[in-house]
């Protein structure tokens, strides 16, 4: 029998870089390769695992301009705008989040990754031209320094890397 806690703990640092990674995990937790594959597949099917693969550090790959663009969108239009912005391939995230009035009126957040700031600003204009009125209220928050990029959550008291918030 496969022990879910053991499997998740064994995967906390990812898959081992060996020719048969699922067999290596199975051996580590006293299960079989088939069981491990089936269990991971089940976790994918129910959405607990978004995908298998690599997560990159964008800055190290030359995507040094990272902007969080925040928008003040009327509540009744935020769903439509959120979907519209999400369709651009340079947009990696589009979420609705709460406003903090009066000083933070923004309720829609997008992340844009680009090679430089000009690249990001050009893409931003494309989003505005395609999705909303030119007088839309927004703000662009470029990141200056990254102090920590780890991406960790705790599962069964084990540290496990995960997606961004």
């Amino acid at each position: 029998m496969l022990d879910e806690r053991k499997l998740i703990a064994a995967l906390q640092h990812g898959l081992p870089l060996v020719s048969h990674p699922y067999a290596a995990i199975a051996e580590q937790i006293g299960s079989s390769e088939t069981e491990v594959i089936e269990y991971i597949q089940a976790m994918k099917d129910r959405g607990d695992i978004k995908r298998l693969g690599v997560v990159v550090r964008h800055r190290k790959l030359g995507y040094t301009a990272n902007a969080m663009v925040v928008w003040d969108i009327p509540d009744e239009r935020v769903d439509e705008m959120g979907h519209c912005f999400g369709r651009f391939d340079f947009v990696t995230l589009s979420y609705r989040r709460p406003r903090h009035l009066p000083d933070w009126p923004y309720n829609l957040f997008c992340m844009i990754h680009g090679r430089d700031r000009d690249d990001v600003m050009k893409n931003l204009q494309l989003m505005i031209a395609n999705c909303c009125e030119a007088d839309i209220k927004y703000s662009v928050l470029f990141s200056n320094r990254c102090f920590k990029q780890r991406g960790a959550i705790y599962i069964h008291s084990e540290k496990t890397e995960a997606v961004r918030a």
Binding site: L11, H13, G14, L15, L17, V18, S19, P21, Y22, I40, Q41, M43, K44, G47, D48, I49, K50, R51, L52, G53, V54, V55, V56, R57, K60, L61, N66, M68, H83, F85, G86, V91, T92, L93, Y95, R96, R97, P98, F109, H113, F142, S143, N144, R145, C146, F147, K148, Q149, R150, G151, I153, Y154, I155, S157, K159, T160, E161, A162, V163, A165
Partner: protein
């Protein structure tokens, strides 16, 4: 580290998925016409050099029962380093970026349970004396961090 053509192919391919089969590398080797051992070695190297932060399953934190939020504080320039140290000292703080806005420090809090988010925020407020703006996701329209190289 300078990326080779193989590295670029691997990054572009593996952001989209890794086979969940008994011979995943052999399958990829056939598809990409790159020997399996070479791919494993290049991934190892890119991981060692910090270009790849993870290879394996990417979890959906909320579905796994954890708490996740984006938070921000307004920090005076002269207190920046001190506040940064306090916030980063929490294991639950996953990312922390300086951004150019009055709200200038932005961080992700990831916890074992949803309730723990508020506990961490309260502690950060107590230790820094600053208001933490909590901005949890209310609706997800799109999320896919895939960057072609």
């Amino acid at each position: 580290m300078k990326l080779t053509a193989v590295d670029r192919t691997l990054i572009n391919q593996l952001q989209g998925g890794f086979p969940l089969t008994e011979h995943p590398w052999d399958e990829l080797a056939e598809k990409l016409s790159i020997p399996a051992e070479d791919m494993i070695e290049r991934i190892r190297l890119m991981q060692a050099n910090g270009l790849i932060s993870r290879f394996g399953p990417i979890y959906n934190a909320e579905r796994m029962g954890g708490g996740l939020t984006l938070a921000a504080v307004k920090v005076e320039p002269e207190r920046f380093a001190e506040v940064n140290d306090i916030i980063n000292s929490f294991d639950q703080v996953a990312h922390n970026y300086e951004r150019d806005h009055e709200l200038n420090m932005w961080f992700v809090i990831a916890t074992e349970s949803p309730e723990e988010i508020q506990v961490v925020i309260d502690k950060i407020e107590a230790q820094t004396g600053l208001d933490v703006y909590n901005m949890p996701k209310q609706e997800e329209y799109f999320l896919e961090l895939k960057l072609m190289v």
